[in-house]
Protein backbone atom coordinates (compact mmCIF):
# COMPACT_ATOMS: atom_id res chain seq x y z
CA UNK A 1 0.00 0.00 0.00
CA UNK A 2 2.84 2.36 0.90
CA UNK A 3 4.42 1.62 -2.44
CA UNK A 4 1.21 2.54 -4.21
CA UNK A 5 1.08 5.88 -2.39
CA UNK A 6 4.71 6.53 -3.24
CA UNK A 7 3.90 5.96 -6.89
CA UNK A 8 0.83 8.19 -6.78
CA UNK A 9 2.78 10.90 -5.00
CA UNK A 10 5.38 10.83 -7.77
CA UNK A 11 2.64 10.93 -10.37
CA UNK A 12 1.27 14.27 -9.09
CA UNK A 13 4.59 15.74 -7.97
CA UNK A 14 5.52 19.22 -9.25
CA UNK A 15 8.75 17.81 -10.70
CA UNK A 16 6.71 15.43 -12.82
CA UNK A 17 4.70 18.41 -14.06
CA UNK A 18 7.93 20.33 -14.74
CA UNK A 19 9.20 17.50 -16.93
CA UNK A 20 5.82 17.32 -18.67
CA UNK A 21 6.22 21.01 -19.50
CA UNK A 22 9.72 20.60 -20.90
CA UNK A 23 8.46 17.63 -22.94
CA UNK A 24 5.57 19.71 -24.32
CA UNK A 25 8.24 22.14 -25.50
CA UNK A 26 10.13 19.30 -27.13
CA UNK A 27 6.87 18.21 -28.73
CA UNK A 28 6.67 21.58 -30.50
CA UNK A 29 10.19 20.95 -31.77
CA UNK A 30 10.07 17.32 -32.70
CA UNK A 31 6.45 16.17 -32.76
CA UNK A 32 5.21 19.12 -34.76
CA UNK A 33 8.21 20.38 -36.71
CA UNK A 34 10.65 17.47 -36.77
CA UNK A 35 13.44 19.54 -35.20
CA UNK A 36 16.05 17.49 -33.36
CA UNK A 37 16.69 19.52 -30.23
CA UNK A 38 19.15 17.47 -28.20
CA UNK A 39 19.66 20.19 -25.61
CA UNK A 40 16.28 20.81 -24.00
CA UNK A 41 18.00 20.59 -20.58
CA UNK A 42 19.96 23.70 -21.55
CA UNK A 43 16.73 25.63 -22.11
CA UNK A 44 15.47 24.46 -18.70
CA UNK A 45 18.72 25.48 -17.05
CA UNK A 46 18.58 28.97 -18.59
CA UNK A 47 15.04 29.37 -17.27
CA UNK A 48 16.18 28.32 -13.80
CA UNK A 49 19.20 30.63 -13.72
CA UNK A 50 17.34 33.55 -15.25
CA UNK A 51 14.58 33.24 -12.66
CA UNK A 52 16.70 32.55 -9.58
CA UNK A 53 19.33 35.20 -10.31
CA UNK A 54 16.69 37.85 -11.03
CA UNK A 55 14.97 37.15 -7.72
CA UNK A 56 18.32 37.43 -5.97
CA UNK A 57 18.72 40.87 -7.55
CA UNK A 58 15.51 41.81 -5.80
CA UNK A 59 13.39 42.04 -8.96
CA UNK A 60 9.67 41.27 -8.85
CA UNK A 61 8.67 37.66 -9.54
CA UNK A 62 7.00 38.40 -12.87
CA UNK A 63 10.15 40.14 -14.11
CA UNK A 64 12.17 37.12 -12.96
CA UNK A 65 9.90 34.78 -14.92
CA UNK A 66 10.20 36.98 -18.00
CA UNK A 67 13.99 37.03 -17.69
CA UNK A 68 14.07 33.20 -17.54
CA UNK A 69 11.82 32.89 -20.59
CA UNK A 70 13.65 35.60 -22.53
CA UNK A 71 16.98 33.88 -21.88
CA UNK A 72 15.58 30.74 -23.50
CA UNK A 73 14.15 32.71 -26.44
CA UNK A 74 17.52 34.36 -27.09
CA UNK A 75 19.26 30.99 -26.78
CA UNK A 76 16.84 29.58 -29.38
CA UNK A 77 17.57 32.41 -31.80
CA UNK A 78 21.33 32.01 -31.34
CA UNK A 79 21.17 28.26 -31.95
CA UNK A 80 18.63 28.39 -34.73
CA UNK A 81 20.10 31.25 -36.71
CA UNK A 82 23.13 29.35 -38.09
CA UNK A 83 21.62 25.84 -38.11
CA UNK A 84 18.01 26.00 -39.26
CA UNK A 85 19.07 26.67 -42.85
CA UNK A 86 21.15 23.48 -42.80
CA UNK A 87 20.26 19.80 -42.59
CA UNK A 88 18.52 18.63 -39.41
CA UNK A 89 21.53 16.97 -37.80
CA UNK A 90 23.35 20.29 -37.47
CA UNK A 91 20.74 21.52 -35.02
CA UNK A 92 21.11 18.27 -33.06
CA UNK A 93 24.89 18.64 -32.75
CA UNK A 94 24.77 22.33 -31.91
CA UNK A 95 22.05 21.92 -29.27
CA UNK A 96 23.92 19.10 -27.51
CA UNK A 97 27.06 21.23 -27.35
CA UNK A 98 25.28 24.45 -26.42
CA UNK A 99 23.35 22.84 -23.57
CA UNK A 100 26.61 21.47 -22.17
CA UNK A 101 28.14 24.93 -22.50
CA UNK A 102 25.32 26.43 -20.45
CA UNK A 103 25.97 23.81 -17.79
CA UNK A 104 29.74 24.43 -17.77
CA UNK A 105 29.18 28.16 -17.64
CA UNK A 106 26.92 27.58 -14.64
CA UNK A 107 29.63 25.51 -12.95
CA UNK A 108 32.46 27.89 -13.72
CA UNK A 109 34.06 29.80 -10.86
CA UNK A 110 34.20 33.04 -12.84
CA UNK A 111 30.45 33.58 -12.42
CA UNK A 112 30.27 32.13 -8.91
CA UNK A 113 28.89 35.39 -7.53
CA UNK A 114 25.73 34.99 -9.61
CA UNK A 115 25.41 31.24 -10.16
CA UNK A 116 27.05 29.76 -7.09
CA UNK A 117 29.28 27.75 -9.45
CA UNK A 118 29.04 23.98 -9.05
CA UNK A 119 27.14 24.09 -5.77
CA UNK A 120 24.41 26.09 -7.45
CA UNK A 121 21.82 28.38 -5.84
CA UNK A 122 20.00 27.27 -2.68
CA UNK A 123 16.23 27.13 -2.93
CA UNK A 124 15.82 29.42 0.09
CA UNK A 125 17.60 32.17 -1.89
CA UNK A 126 14.85 32.55 -4.48
CA UNK A 127 11.70 30.65 -3.51
CA UNK A 128 10.23 33.15 -1.05
CA UNK A 129 8.44 35.52 -3.49
CA UNK A 130 6.62 32.58 -5.06
CA UNK A 131 5.75 30.98 -1.72
CA UNK A 132 4.42 34.27 -0.36
CA UNK A 133 1.76 34.23 -3.08
CA UNK A 134 0.39 30.94 -1.77
CA UNK A 135 -3.24 30.87 -0.66
CA UNK A 136 -2.54 27.55 1.12
CA UNK A 137 -1.67 27.43 4.84
CA UNK A 138 1.96 27.70 5.89
CA UNK A 139 1.94 24.17 7.36
CA UNK A 140 1.70 20.50 6.42
CA UNK A 141 -1.66 19.81 4.76
CA UNK A 142 -3.12 16.32 4.41
CA UNK A 143 -5.44 15.68 1.51
CA UNK A 144 -6.58 12.07 1.34
CA UNK A 145 -3.51 9.86 1.57
CA UNK A 146 -1.22 12.70 0.47
CA UNK A 147 0.72 14.82 2.87
CA UNK A 148 2.55 17.90 1.60
CA UNK A 149 3.44 21.32 2.91
CA UNK A 150 0.89 23.93 1.96
CA UNK A 151 3.23 26.55 0.59
CA UNK A 152 6.91 25.67 0.90
CA UNK A 153 9.03 24.04 -1.80
CA UNK A 154 7.31 20.95 -3.29
CA UNK A 155 4.00 22.09 -1.88
CA UNK A 156 0.31 21.90 -2.65
CA UNK A 157 0.68 25.46 -3.91
CA UNK A 158 3.45 24.52 -6.35
CA UNK A 159 1.59 21.37 -7.38
CA UNK A 160 -1.51 23.38 -8.21
CA UNK A 161 0.40 26.02 -10.13
CA UNK A 162 2.60 23.67 -12.16
CA UNK A 163 -0.23 21.38 -13.23
CA UNK A 164 -2.31 24.41 -14.15
CA UNK A 165 0.58 25.59 -16.36
CA UNK A 166 0.82 22.09 -17.85
CA UNK A 167 -2.87 22.22 -18.78
CA UNK A 168 -2.42 25.69 -20.22
CA UNK A 169 0.55 24.62 -22.35
CA UNK A 170 -1.20 21.45 -23.49
CA UNK A 171 -4.09 23.71 -24.53
CA UNK A 172 -1.65 25.98 -26.33
CA UNK A 173 -0.22 22.97 -28.17
CA UNK A 174 -3.72 21.80 -29.12
CA UNK A 175 -4.73 25.21 -30.43
CA UNK A 176 -1.58 25.74 -32.47
CA UNK A 177 -1.20 22.18 -33.73
CA UNK A 178 -4.75 22.33 -35.08
CA UNK A 179 -4.35 25.66 -36.82
CA UNK A 180 -3.05 26.48 -40.30
CA UNK A 181 0.18 27.53 -38.56
CA UNK A 182 0.57 24.03 -37.12
CA UNK A 183 -0.20 22.56 -40.53
CA UNK A 184 2.78 24.38 -42.01
CA UNK A 185 5.00 22.97 -39.23
CA UNK A 186 3.76 19.42 -39.89
CA UNK A 187 4.49 19.94 -43.56
CA UNK A 188 8.04 20.99 -42.67
CA UNK A 189 8.37 17.88 -40.51
CA UNK A 190 7.48 15.79 -43.56
CA UNK A 191 9.43 17.58 -46.27
CA UNK A 192 10.83 21.09 -46.09
CA UNK A 193 11.33 21.47 -49.82
CA UNK A 194 7.74 20.60 -50.57
CA UNK A 195 6.62 23.32 -48.16
CA UNK A 196 9.03 25.80 -49.77
CA UNK A 197 7.63 24.95 -53.17
CA UNK A 198 4.21 25.95 -51.83
CA UNK A 199 5.42 29.45 -50.97
CA UNK A 200 6.04 29.21 -47.20
CA UNK A 201 9.07 30.71 -45.49
CA UNK A 202 10.34 27.52 -43.86
CA UNK A 203 13.19 29.14 -41.93
CA UNK A 204 10.89 31.56 -40.17
CA UNK A 205 8.47 28.79 -39.14
CA UNK A 206 11.27 26.60 -37.81
CA UNK A 207 12.60 29.52 -35.80
CA UNK A 208 9.16 30.20 -34.32
CA UNK A 209 8.81 26.55 -33.30
CA UNK A 210 12.29 26.46 -31.79
CA UNK A 211 11.60 29.58 -29.72
CA UNK A 212 8.16 28.47 -28.48
CA UNK A 213 9.39 25.00 -27.51
CA UNK A 214 12.48 26.43 -25.83
CA UNK A 215 10.48 28.97 -23.85
CA UNK A 216 8.13 26.24 -22.61
CA UNK A 217 11.25 24.26 -21.68
CA UNK A 218 12.44 27.22 -19.62
CA UNK A 219 9.04 27.36 -17.92
CA UNK A 220 9.59 23.69 -17.04
CA UNK A 221 13.00 24.66 -15.64
CA UNK A 222 11.56 27.45 -13.48
CA UNK A 223 8.84 25.24 -12.02
CA UNK A 224 11.37 22.48 -11.42
CA UNK A 225 13.64 24.91 -9.57
CA UNK A 226 10.73 26.04 -7.37
CA UNK A 227 10.45 22.50 -6.01
CA UNK A 228 14.17 21.77 -5.82
CA UNK A 229 17.25 23.97 -6.15
CA UNK A 230 19.31 25.36 -9.01
CA UNK A 231 22.00 22.78 -9.69
CA UNK A 232 23.84 22.83 -13.02
CA UNK A 233 24.49 19.09 -12.90
CA UNK A 234 20.84 18.21 -12.33
CA UNK A 235 20.19 19.40 -15.91
CA UNK A 236 22.79 17.54 -17.91
CA UNK A 237 22.55 15.25 -20.89
CA UNK A 238 20.55 12.59 -18.98
CA UNK A 239 17.75 15.12 -18.47
CA UNK A 240 17.44 15.71 -22.21
CA UNK A 241 17.55 11.97 -22.76
CA UNK A 242 14.72 11.41 -20.26
CA UNK A 243 12.67 14.14 -21.91
CA UNK A 244 12.99 12.42 -25.27
CA UNK A 245 12.15 9.08 -23.67
CA UNK A 246 9.01 10.29 -21.99
CA UNK A 247 7.87 12.19 -25.08
CA UNK A 248 8.21 9.09 -27.26
CA UNK A 249 6.70 6.97 -24.49
CA UNK A 250 3.57 9.10 -24.23
CA UNK A 251 3.32 9.71 -27.96
CA UNK A 252 4.92 12.50 -29.96
CA UNK A 253 2.69 14.95 -31.85
CA UNK A 254 -0.20 14.30 -29.44
CA UNK A 255 -1.59 16.83 -26.98
CA UNK A 256 -1.35 14.73 -23.81
CA UNK A 257 1.49 12.40 -24.86
CA UNK A 258 4.21 14.38 -23.06
CA UNK A 259 2.05 14.68 -19.93
CA UNK A 260 1.18 11.00 -19.77
CA UNK A 261 4.75 10.12 -20.67
CA UNK A 262 6.13 12.13 -17.76
CA UNK A 263 3.66 10.59 -15.30
CA UNK A 264 4.35 7.05 -16.53
CA UNK A 265 8.11 7.53 -16.61
CA UNK A 266 8.53 8.93 -13.11
CA UNK A 267 5.90 6.69 -11.52
CA UNK A 268 7.39 3.54 -12.95
CA UNK A 269 10.82 4.67 -11.77
CA UNK A 270 9.44 5.08 -8.24
CA UNK A 271 7.65 1.76 -8.48
CA UNK A 272 10.76 -0.12 -9.54
CA UNK A 273 12.85 1.58 -6.87
CA UNK A 274 10.34 0.84 -4.12
CA UNK A 275 9.89 -2.76 -5.17
CA UNK A 276 13.62 -3.32 -5.45
CA UNK A 277 14.35 -1.86 -2.03
CA UNK A 278 11.50 -3.89 -0.52
CA UNK A 279 12.30 -7.23 -2.06
CA UNK A 280 15.97 -7.34 -3.02
CA UNK A 281 18.22 -7.83 0.03
CA UNK A 282 20.74 -5.05 0.52
CA UNK A 283 23.76 -7.38 0.28
CA UNK A 284 22.69 -8.19 -3.31
CA UNK A 285 21.85 -4.63 -4.28
CA UNK A 286 23.33 -1.85 -2.16
CA UNK A 287 21.04 1.16 -1.57
CA UNK A 288 23.41 3.31 -3.61
CA UNK A 289 22.92 1.00 -6.60
CA UNK A 290 19.16 1.27 -6.39
CA UNK A 291 18.84 4.39 -8.55
CA UNK A 292 21.04 3.21 -11.46
CA UNK A 293 19.45 -0.25 -11.31
CA UNK A 294 15.94 1.23 -11.56
CA UNK A 295 16.95 3.48 -14.44
CA UNK A 296 18.35 0.52 -16.35
CA UNK A 297 15.18 -1.47 -15.77
CA UNK A 298 12.94 1.40 -16.81
CA UNK A 299 15.18 1.97 -19.83
CA UNK A 300 14.80 -1.63 -20.94
CA UNK A 301 11.04 -1.51 -20.48
CA UNK A 302 10.87 1.63 -22.58
CA UNK A 303 12.97 0.05 -25.29
CA UNK A 304 10.53 -2.84 -25.44
CA UNK A 305 7.66 -0.38 -25.61
CA UNK A 306 9.23 1.49 -28.47
CA UNK A 307 9.80 -1.82 -30.26
CA UNK A 308 6.25 -3.06 -29.78
CA UNK A 309 4.35 0.22 -29.78
CA UNK A 310 6.53 2.63 -31.70
CA UNK A 311 3.97 5.43 -31.74
CA UNK A 312 3.92 5.63 -27.92
CA UNK A 313 0.88 5.14 -25.70
CA UNK A 314 -1.32 7.86 -27.19
CA UNK A 315 0.26 8.25 -30.59
CA UNK A 316 -1.20 7.52 -33.98
CA UNK A 317 0.94 4.97 -35.77
CA UNK A 318 0.23 6.49 -39.16
CA UNK A 319 1.24 9.93 -38.01
CA UNK A 320 4.35 9.49 -35.95
CA UNK A 321 6.11 6.24 -35.20
CA UNK A 322 9.71 5.24 -34.73
Amino acid sequence: MDILFDVLRTAIAPSTAAFALAAIGLNFHFGLTGLLNMGQAGFMLLGMYGFAISIQQGWPIWVAILVGLAAAAIFAVLLGWPTLKLRGDYLAIVTIAAAEMVRFLGRSQSLAGLTGASSGIRGSDYKAPFEELSPFPDAIVNIGPFSMHGSRSSSWWLTTVTWAIVLLCAGLFWRLANSPWGRVLKGIREDEDAVRSLGKNVYSYKMQALIIGGVIGALGGITWALGNSVQPDSMGRPTTFWLWTLLLLGGAATVFGPVLGSILFWSSLTLVKSLASAFIPSDVLAPTELEPFSLVLVGVTLMLLVVFRPQGVLGNKKELAF
Binding site: S179, W181, D193, S197, G199, Q208
Partner: protein, 283 residues
Protein backbone atom coordinates in the same frame (compact mmCIF):
# COMPACT_ATOMS: atom_id res chain seq x y z
CA UNK B 1 -1.19 20.49 -81.39
CA UNK B 2 0.87 23.45 -82.57
CA UNK B 3 -0.16 26.71 -80.96
CA UNK B 4 -0.57 29.74 -83.23
CA UNK B 5 1.79 31.68 -80.97
CA UNK B 6 4.68 29.77 -82.49
CA UNK B 7 4.09 30.41 -86.21
CA UNK B 8 6.85 32.98 -86.46
CA UNK B 9 9.25 31.37 -83.98
CA UNK B 10 12.33 29.86 -85.64
CA UNK B 11 13.05 26.19 -84.89
CA UNK B 12 16.42 26.78 -83.25
CA UNK B 13 17.89 26.62 -79.74
CA UNK B 14 17.25 29.76 -77.69
CA UNK B 15 14.58 31.06 -80.04
CA UNK B 16 12.82 34.24 -78.87
CA UNK B 17 9.05 33.96 -78.28
CA UNK B 18 6.42 36.64 -78.94
CA UNK B 19 5.22 36.81 -75.29
CA UNK B 20 7.64 35.00 -72.98
CA UNK B 21 6.57 34.46 -69.35
CA UNK B 22 9.90 32.92 -68.37
CA UNK B 23 13.34 33.91 -69.65
CA UNK B 24 16.74 32.47 -68.72
CA UNK B 25 19.95 33.97 -69.99
CA UNK B 26 23.50 32.61 -69.78
CA UNK B 27 22.64 30.26 -66.91
CA UNK B 28 25.55 28.06 -65.82
CA UNK B 29 25.63 25.57 -62.96
CA UNK B 30 28.78 23.56 -62.28
CA UNK B 31 29.15 20.79 -59.70
CA UNK B 32 32.91 20.63 -59.19
CA UNK B 33 34.31 19.85 -62.61
CA UNK B 34 30.97 18.86 -64.08
CA UNK B 35 28.98 21.50 -65.93
CA UNK B 36 25.44 20.31 -65.32
CA UNK B 37 23.68 23.26 -66.96
CA UNK B 38 24.94 25.74 -69.51
CA UNK B 39 21.94 27.37 -71.15
CA UNK B 40 22.70 30.38 -73.37
CA UNK B 41 19.15 31.53 -73.80
CA UNK B 42 15.75 30.07 -73.05
CA UNK B 43 12.22 31.45 -73.28
CA UNK B 44 8.84 29.96 -72.51
CA UNK B 45 5.81 31.33 -74.32
CA UNK B 46 2.93 32.37 -72.07
CA UNK B 47 -0.14 30.11 -71.90
CA UNK B 48 1.39 27.20 -73.82
CA UNK B 49 2.54 23.71 -72.95
CA UNK B 50 6.28 23.36 -73.38
CA UNK B 51 8.06 20.03 -72.98
CA UNK B 52 11.65 19.85 -71.80
CA UNK B 53 13.16 16.58 -72.94
CA UNK B 54 16.60 15.04 -73.03
CA UNK B 55 18.46 11.92 -71.97
CA UNK B 56 19.07 11.10 -68.31
CA UNK B 57 21.63 13.41 -66.75
CA UNK B 58 21.05 16.12 -69.36
CA UNK B 59 20.54 18.67 -66.59
CA UNK B 60 16.76 19.06 -66.80
CA UNK B 61 16.08 18.74 -63.07
CA UNK B 62 19.04 20.96 -62.24
CA UNK B 63 17.70 23.58 -64.65
CA UNK B 64 14.29 23.34 -62.92
CA UNK B 65 15.98 23.84 -59.55
CA UNK B 66 17.79 26.92 -60.82
CA UNK B 67 14.65 28.46 -62.28
CA UNK B 68 12.60 27.85 -59.12
CA UNK B 69 15.20 29.08 -56.62
CA UNK B 70 16.01 25.64 -55.17
CA UNK B 71 19.57 25.94 -56.47
CA UNK B 72 21.75 28.93 -57.32
CA UNK B 73 23.49 29.33 -60.67
CA UNK B 74 27.11 30.44 -60.75
CA UNK B 75 26.32 32.70 -63.66
CA UNK B 76 23.27 33.97 -65.44
CA UNK B 77 19.98 35.77 -65.02
CA UNK B 78 16.38 34.73 -65.05
CA UNK B 79 13.12 36.59 -65.33
CA UNK B 80 9.62 35.44 -64.51
CA UNK B 81 6.65 37.58 -65.49
CA UNK B 82 8.97 40.57 -65.69
CA UNK B 83 10.52 39.99 -62.23
CA UNK B 84 14.22 39.17 -61.96
CA UNK B 85 14.73 35.70 -60.45
CA UNK B 86 18.33 36.11 -59.31
CA UNK B 87 18.69 35.28 -55.60
CA UNK B 88 14.95 34.88 -55.14
CA UNK B 89 14.30 32.14 -52.53
CA UNK B 90 12.05 29.23 -53.59
CA UNK B 91 9.11 30.29 -51.44
CA UNK B 92 9.10 33.71 -53.05
CA UNK B 93 9.27 32.21 -56.54
CA UNK B 94 6.20 30.15 -55.66
CA UNK B 95 4.38 33.20 -54.32
CA UNK B 96 5.23 35.04 -57.52
CA UNK B 97 3.16 32.39 -59.32
CA UNK B 98 5.67 29.79 -60.52
CA UNK B 99 4.97 26.53 -58.71
CA UNK B 100 6.83 23.29 -59.28
CA UNK B 101 6.58 19.59 -58.57
CA UNK B 102 9.51 17.27 -58.00
CA UNK B 103 10.89 14.31 -59.93
CA UNK B 104 10.93 12.33 -56.66
CA UNK B 105 7.40 12.94 -55.46
CA UNK B 106 7.10 14.92 -52.26
CA UNK B 107 3.74 13.93 -50.88
CA UNK B 108 3.67 14.75 -47.16
CA UNK B 109 3.15 11.15 -46.07
CA UNK B 110 2.06 11.57 -42.48
CA UNK B 111 -0.54 14.19 -43.30
CA UNK B 112 -3.93 13.45 -44.80
CA UNK B 113 -4.68 14.14 -48.45
CA UNK B 114 -6.93 17.08 -47.58
CA UNK B 115 -4.29 18.60 -45.28
CA UNK B 116 -1.73 18.25 -48.07
CA UNK B 117 -4.10 20.18 -50.29
CA UNK B 118 -4.89 22.90 -47.75
CA UNK B 119 -1.19 23.50 -47.23
CA UNK B 120 -0.93 24.54 -50.86
CA UNK B 121 -3.32 27.46 -50.45
CA UNK B 122 -2.02 31.02 -50.21
CA UNK B 123 -3.26 33.87 -48.09
CA UNK B 124 -4.48 31.84 -45.14
CA UNK B 125 -4.20 34.34 -42.25
CA UNK B 126 -4.12 31.43 -39.77
CA UNK B 127 -0.63 30.58 -40.96
CA UNK B 128 0.52 33.54 -38.92
CA UNK B 129 1.41 32.52 -35.35
CA UNK B 130 -0.56 35.22 -33.58
CA UNK B 131 -3.65 34.93 -35.75
CA UNK B 132 -3.58 31.14 -35.33
CA UNK B 133 -4.87 31.69 -31.77
CA UNK B 134 -8.07 33.28 -33.05
CA UNK B 135 -10.01 30.86 -35.30
CA UNK B 136 -12.62 33.50 -36.22
CA UNK B 137 -9.81 35.22 -38.13
CA UNK B 138 -9.12 32.20 -40.34
CA UNK B 139 -12.10 29.82 -40.32
CA UNK B 140 -13.85 31.54 -43.22
CA UNK B 141 -10.74 31.35 -45.40
CA UNK B 142 -10.29 27.72 -44.30
CA UNK B 143 -13.77 26.92 -45.63
CA UNK B 144 -12.95 28.53 -48.98
CA UNK B 145 -9.70 26.60 -49.15
CA UNK B 146 -11.42 23.33 -48.33
CA UNK B 147 -14.00 23.92 -51.03
CA UNK B 148 -11.28 24.66 -53.58
CA UNK B 149 -9.46 21.51 -52.44
CA UNK B 150 -12.59 19.39 -52.84
CA UNK B 151 -13.08 20.66 -56.40
CA UNK B 152 -9.53 19.77 -57.32
CA UNK B 153 -9.70 16.38 -55.60
CA UNK B 154 -12.83 15.57 -57.58
CA UNK B 155 -11.01 16.52 -60.77
CA UNK B 156 -8.00 14.40 -59.87
CA UNK B 157 -10.16 11.49 -58.68
CA UNK B 158 -8.75 11.63 -55.18
CA UNK B 159 -11.88 12.88 -53.42
CA UNK B 160 -12.68 9.50 -51.87
CA UNK B 161 -9.16 9.43 -50.42
CA UNK B 162 -9.32 12.87 -48.84
CA UNK B 163 -9.09 11.63 -45.24
CA UNK B 164 -6.42 8.99 -45.91
CA UNK B 165 -2.81 9.63 -45.06
CA UNK B 166 -0.87 10.58 -48.19
CA UNK B 167 1.62 7.83 -47.35
CA UNK B 168 -1.04 5.20 -48.06
CA UNK B 169 -1.53 6.32 -51.68
CA UNK B 170 0.00 4.56 -54.68
CA UNK B 171 2.95 6.18 -56.45
CA UNK B 172 0.72 7.43 -59.24
CA UNK B 173 -1.84 8.86 -56.84
CA UNK B 174 0.94 10.71 -55.04
CA UNK B 175 1.99 12.30 -58.31
CA UNK B 176 -1.61 13.39 -58.84
CA UNK B 177 -1.81 14.73 -55.30
CA UNK B 178 1.41 16.68 -55.71
CA UNK B 179 0.10 18.26 -58.89
CA UNK B 180 -3.30 19.03 -57.38
CA UNK B 181 -1.59 20.54 -54.33
CA UNK B 182 0.53 22.77 -56.57
CA UNK B 183 -2.68 24.01 -58.19
CA UNK B 184 -3.99 25.06 -54.77
CA UNK B 185 -1.48 27.93 -55.01
CA UNK B 186 -3.39 29.23 -58.06
CA UNK B 187 -0.16 29.53 -60.04
CA UNK B 188 0.31 31.30 -63.34
CA UNK B 189 2.99 28.83 -64.36
CA UNK B 190 3.34 25.17 -63.43
CA UNK B 191 6.66 23.35 -63.66
CA UNK B 192 6.26 19.57 -63.63
CA UNK B 193 9.36 17.38 -63.29
CA UNK B 194 8.48 13.99 -64.80
CA UNK B 195 4.80 14.06 -63.84
CA UNK B 196 4.13 10.77 -65.60
CA UNK B 197 6.99 8.71 -64.15
CA UNK B 198 5.68 5.70 -62.25
CA UNK B 199 2.06 6.51 -63.00
CA UNK B 200 0.13 3.54 -64.34
CA UNK B 201 -1.19 3.81 -67.92
CA UNK B 202 -4.83 4.16 -66.83
CA UNK B 203 -3.94 7.25 -64.82
CA UNK B 204 -1.59 8.67 -67.47
CA UNK B 205 -4.51 9.43 -69.75
CA UNK B 206 -6.28 11.56 -67.16
CA UNK B 207 -3.01 13.19 -66.17
CA UNK B 208 -2.48 14.31 -69.76
CA UNK B 209 -6.02 15.68 -69.82
CA UNK B 210 -5.31 17.60 -66.63
CA UNK B 211 -2.24 19.20 -68.13
CA UNK B 212 -4.18 20.27 -71.20
CA UNK B 213 -6.88 21.70 -68.90
CA UNK B 214 -4.26 23.82 -67.13
CA UNK B 215 -3.53 25.53 -70.40
CA UNK B 216 -7.24 26.00 -71.05
CA UNK B 217 -7.47 27.64 -67.62
CA UNK B 218 -4.86 30.19 -68.72
CA UNK B 219 -1.75 28.70 -67.11
CA UNK B 220 1.64 28.10 -68.66
CA UNK B 221 3.09 24.60 -68.33
CA UNK B 222 6.71 23.52 -68.59
CA UNK B 223 7.17 19.80 -68.06
CA UNK B 224 9.96 17.26 -68.20
CA UNK B 225 9.06 13.92 -69.72
CA UNK B 226 10.80 10.88 -71.17
CA UNK B 227 7.97 9.29 -73.05
CA UNK B 228 7.92 10.76 -76.56
CA UNK B 229 4.34 9.70 -77.20
CA UNK B 230 3.18 11.81 -74.28
CA UNK B 231 5.29 14.74 -75.32
CA UNK B 232 3.96 14.56 -78.85
CA UNK B 233 0.34 14.41 -77.71
CA UNK B 234 0.15 17.45 -75.48
CA UNK B 235 3.04 19.82 -76.08
CA UNK B 236 2.92 22.93 -78.26
CA UNK B 237 6.67 23.30 -78.21
CA UNK B 238 9.55 21.00 -77.36
CA UNK B 239 12.95 22.00 -75.98
CA UNK B 240 15.73 19.40 -76.02
CA UNK B 241 18.60 19.42 -73.56
CA UNK B 242 21.74 17.30 -73.72
CA UNK B 243 24.83 17.59 -71.54
CA UNK B 244 23.52 20.78 -69.97
CA UNK B 245 22.87 22.65 -73.21
CA UNK B 246 19.77 23.27 -75.25
CA UNK B 247 20.43 21.52 -78.54
CA UNK B 248 17.10 21.89 -80.33
CA UNK B 249 13.72 23.58 -80.16
CA UNK B 250 10.58 23.33 -82.19
CA UNK B 251 7.31 21.46 -82.54
CA UNK B 252 7.50 17.80 -81.52
CA UNK B 253 7.66 16.38 -85.05
CA UNK B 254 10.44 18.69 -86.22
CA UNK B 255 12.51 18.22 -83.08
CA UNK B 256 12.37 14.44 -83.19
CA UNK B 257 13.48 14.41 -86.79
CA UNK B 258 16.52 16.49 -85.87
CA UNK B 259 19.70 14.36 -86.26
CA UNK B 260 21.37 16.10 -83.29
CA UNK B 261 18.47 15.03 -81.07
CA UNK B 262 18.61 11.44 -82.31
CA UNK B 263 22.35 11.40 -81.68
CA UNK B 264 21.92 12.70 -78.17
CA UNK B 265 19.36 10.03 -77.36
CA UNK B 266 21.15 7.17 -79.09
CA UNK B 267 24.44 8.22 -77.57
CA UNK B 268 22.92 8.28 -74.14
CA UNK B 269 20.93 5.08 -74.08
CA UNK B 270 21.47 2.54 -76.79
CA UNK B 271 18.40 0.60 -75.76
CA UNK B 272 15.95 3.34 -76.74
CA UNK B 273 13.27 1.99 -78.97
CA UNK B 274 13.73 3.79 -82.27
CA UNK B 275 9.98 3.89 -82.80
CA UNK B 276 9.89 6.35 -79.87
CA UNK B 277 11.86 8.72 -82.01
CA UNK B 278 9.96 7.92 -85.17
CA UNK B 279 10.52 10.45 -87.91
CA UNK B 280 7.02 10.73 -89.29
CA UNK B 281 4.58 12.92 -87.48
CA UNK B 282 1.57 10.76 -86.66
CA UNK B 283 -0.84 13.57 -85.95
Amino acid sequence: MADTAFVSVPHEPGAAKPDPILIADGVTRRFGGLTAVKVDHFEVQRNTITALIGPNGAGKSTFFNLLTGFDQAQEGEGQFNGKPLRGMPPAKVARAGMVRTFQLTKALSRMTVIENMRLGAQEQPGENLLRAFAPPLWKAREREITEQAHDLLHRFKLYEKRDDYAGSLSGGQRKLLEMARALMCKPTMVMLDEPMAGVNPALTESLLDHIVELKEDGMTVLFVEHDMHMVRRISDWVVVMAEGKIIAEGPAGTVMANPAVQDAYLGAHHDTDLSDLSLEDDE
